[in-house]
């Protein structure tokens, strides 16, 4: 990035020779972010890997235990449950927010009356912090709260249950508020993508007799390729780091039924004070996130090259 800027903006040959000697400014541009990144990201990450090979309570010095933590992870039913829940979360939260966001973007892309209001209304939840969102939804779910009142009003009182305290429903009751927020966000990404499509393409397709579905399938979706990649990586990363909403609503309970990898890591580290084991969970989360990000980057670079 910095390199391209300096070579394109500096035209005279005399100056170009000087930039070949590496200007101190350029070095600073590379080294300062690298140093900051090292302290902020690389060093803690490496430390995290090291802690995952130790037993550590956060107070006394860590003791090296080799791969014990990973062996324990393999046989830990709670960890497996959290992994399964994380996958369910990824599929439901990710899938539905893409479908919902894309659907809303299609409906709201045409300029018509009040469309600005509808867009703003859908985007509003994104503005709230997830903890605030959780507080609002907690009121919604509480016994005799709005959810129960609504069900009673339509004669479905046999469905009423302690939404957040029932292991059958807790995970889904937490996904819903997360979706409520994420759909607005994904919608905005897709709206931007839709706006960038050349109307002439649609015009041409229409002239060729393509119906609405064919235009969506063969014009809109291929044109959104760039946005799709962004949306994919955003939702995968958001799914893996989902923590605040789950922690504020259920803390992973009741009895681990809404536990995600992130909440299990937190409770292992800061409630059970098993920081070595928690680091091992953190490493698993890191590897999962890295796999997705690398997959995306490789794809992006390949496209750029072609």
């Amino acid at each position: 990035m910095t390199a391209t800027i300096s070579t394109t903006s500096v035209t005279p040959t005399r100056r170009r020779r000087r930039s070949a000697r590496l200007s101190p400014l350029l070095v600073a541009f590379v080294l300062v972010p690298f140093a900051v990144e090292s302290v902020w990201v690389f060093w803690p990450a490496i430390q995290g890997f090291w802690f995952s090979l130790t037993r550590w309570d956060g107070m006394t010095p860590p003791t090296f235990v080799g791969t014990d933590n990973y062996v324990e992870l393999a046989g830990d039913a709670t960890f497996r449950g959290a992994l399964v829940n994380t996958v369910i979360w990824l599929v439901l939260f990710g899938g539905l927010s893409v479908l919902g966001g894309f659907g809303m973007a299609l409906v709201l892309q045409k300029e018509r009356r009040f469309v600005g209001f509808y867009r703003a209304a859908l985007f509003t939840p994104v503005v709230f912090s997830l903890v605030v969102t959780a507080l609002v939804w907690r009121v919604f779910y509480q016994p005799d709260g709005i959810a129960d009142t609504l069900l009673r009003a339509v004669g479905l009182e046999q469905l009423i249950r302690p939404w957040l305290a029932d292991p059958q429903t807790a995970l889904y009751a937490v996904i819903l508020p997360a979706l409520w927020r994420q759909i607005g966000y994904v919608m905005v990404l897709f709206l931007a993508g839709l706006k960038a499509i050349d109307p002439a393409l649609h015009e041409a397709a229409r002239m060729d007799g393509a119906n609405a579905w064919q235009r969506l399938r063969h014009v809109t979706i291929p044109q959104l390729k760039g946005v799709n990649a962004v949306v994919l990586s955003v939702i995968v990363i958001d799914s893996l780091r989902s923590f605040d909403i789950v922690w504020s609503l259920t803390k992973g309970g009741p009895y681990h039924s809404s536990e995600l990898l992130s909440t299990y890591m937190y409770s292992t580290a800061f409630q059970s004070l098993r920081l070595g084991y928690a680091s091992a969970i953190a490493v698993v989360i890191f590897v999962l996130a890295l796999a997705v990000i690398l997959g995306y980057l490789v794809r992006a670079f390949r496209e750029e090259a072609s």
Binding site: V39, W40, V41, W43, P44, A45, Q47, G48, F49, F51, R55, D57, G58, M59, T60, P61, E72, A77, Y141, Q142, P143, D144, P162, W163, L164, A165, D166, P167, R241, F243, K251, G253, P254, Y255, H256, S262, M265, S267, A269, F270, Q271, S272, L273, R274, L275, Y277, A278, S279, I281, A282, V283, I285, F286, A289
Partner: protein, 431 residues
């Protein structure tokens, strides 16, 4: 002592926290690691910082008043940081191990404090205890660590019991039960009147269920067994522990089904509104109750199950300990001596909701009938226990929360639940 600390380790710690984003997990953990040790550099003067978890409005106001009075006396200066109790609980190890920790902390006596003391994190306050020679031996023992020095200064204790509204019991025409049989009969009566007999609040505060476990265990197996179990010297899958759950199961049908979904504060509201009959809870619940309801509250002790078992009650002791790394040990001890004194303890009792018993034997408790009854109950007890997490550790508490909430939902699976609990507890004890 300002918040700014040029120490490199602390700097790394903050940066580690800041880098939480992308690599969240690993950098998060390292934040604590970086501040795990380090020298103290500041000099021995300046204000004593006191971290307080007493965040309910009345208790917070009471603490503020105490610190104000202390500062006016001119023996030193202190500043109070009140922190939400859940945050305080999770952050306490980080506070204590940081390079430049706050000086004084509100916390609990017993196993929790001793555990920190065994890691040399707590200040030796034997000097403060020299002037506390009229304190009862039980409190002194409770405040002494394994190496025989005092590391804790108690402020007050309180009790747990079945709280109810006198007016409601009169309306329903029922009496306080003494034995387990009478208790179950009372539940049956209330249920027949359409009132959920037993209130509980497990949503967000699942630890409330531990009171049931503690009490049933000390009533059936006795306090010594209970302490050994919580210290890892007995097993959770022992038949004696299963017997606790067999008893508990007899009472399960009488629990308020909504109690799973709301926290104990809302369970309090439900009790006061007459939507539940009674509620096994500590006196701190009254901090959240309106003053006019206090006069109508009464309680009875957890019913006797086996008269042969020596009577024990839960009486958690709250107080203070100080960081071993305090830059100002003299000031910290001066503040502790003040807080242990008659004047401060009476002032605290007066300003808070008042349903606590001051630790100082010369300090007068409130003379409300409720407090008189509570004090009498504790005096009658042969043994006092603290509470599940205080008699074991905060690390063991989540294993109890999981096991007990699961039991309340699926009592049929008790054998599997106890096996899982034992496995979870072993992991915690192993570290």
């Amino acid at each position: 002592m300002s918040d700014f600390d040029p120490g490199r380790r602390r700097f790394l710690g903050h940066l580690g926290l800041a880098g939480l984003g992308a690599l969240g997990a690993s950098s998060f953990l390292s934040a604590c690691a970086s501040s795990a040790s380090g020298p103290t550099t500041s000099n021995g003067s300046g204000a004593v910082t006191i971290q307080s978890n007493l965040s309910s409005p009345q208790a917070k106001a009471a603490m503020e008043k105490l610190i104000e009075t202390f500062n006016a006396q001119g023996k030193g200066t202190a500043s109070l940081n009140t922190i939400a109790s859940e945050t305080f609980r999770t952050q306490l190890p980080t506070y204590l191990t940081s390079a430049n920790p706050p000086d004084l902390y509100t916390w609990y006596a017993g196993s929790v404090a001793n555990d920190y003391a065994s890691k040399n994190l707590l200040l030796d306050v034997s000097e403060v205890w020299k002037s506390l020679d009229d304190y009862p031996q039980s409190l002194r023992t409770l405040s002494t660590d394994a190496s025989g020095k005092q590391i804790f200064v108690p402020m007050n204790n309180y009790w747990w019991g079945f709280f109810y509204r006198k007016s409601n019991f009169a309306k329903w025409g029922v009496q306080e039960p003494k034995t387990w049989t009478e208790f179950l009969a009372l539940c049956e009566t209330l249920k027949s009147k359409g009132v959920p007999p037993i209130g509980i609040g497990l949503g967000d505060t699942p630890w409330v269920a531990s009171a049931w476990f503690d009490y049933l265990n000390i009533r059936i197996n006795g306090a010594p067994f209970h302490r050994e179990l919580l210290a890892g010297k007995q097993r959770f899958d022992d038949p004696k522990v299963k017997a606790v759950f067999t008893r508990w199961r007899e009472a399960l049908p009488y629990f308020d089904p909504k109690g799973k979904a709301y926290p104990f504060q809302e369970a309090t509201t439900a009790l006061l509104a007459g939507k539940t009959g009674m509620f096994l809870i500590g006196t701190f619940f009254a901090d959240a109750a309106p003053k006019d309801a206090l006069g109508d509250l009464d309680f009875f002790r957890f019913p006797i199950i086996d008269p042969a078992v020596p009577l024990a009650e839960e009486a958690p002791t709250d107080g203070f300990f100080a960081s071993a790394k305090t830059a100002n040990p003299t000031g910290t001890k001066a503040l502790l001596s003040y807080l242990a004194g008659v004047e401060a303890q009476e002032a605290y009792v007066k300003a808070s909701s008042g349903i606590v018993l001051p630790a100082n034997p010369r300090a007068k408790a409130s003379d409300s009938p409720l407090v008189v009854k509570g004090k009498a109950m504790l005096n009658e007890a042969k043994e006092l226990t603290q509470f599940f997490n205080r008699d074991s550790s905060d690390a063991l508490q989540p294993t109890a929360d999981t096991a007990l909430t699961k039991f309340i939902d699926k009592p049929d699976q008790i054998d599997a639940i106890l096996r899982e609990w034992q496995a979870g507890a072993e992991k915690v004890f192993k570290g």
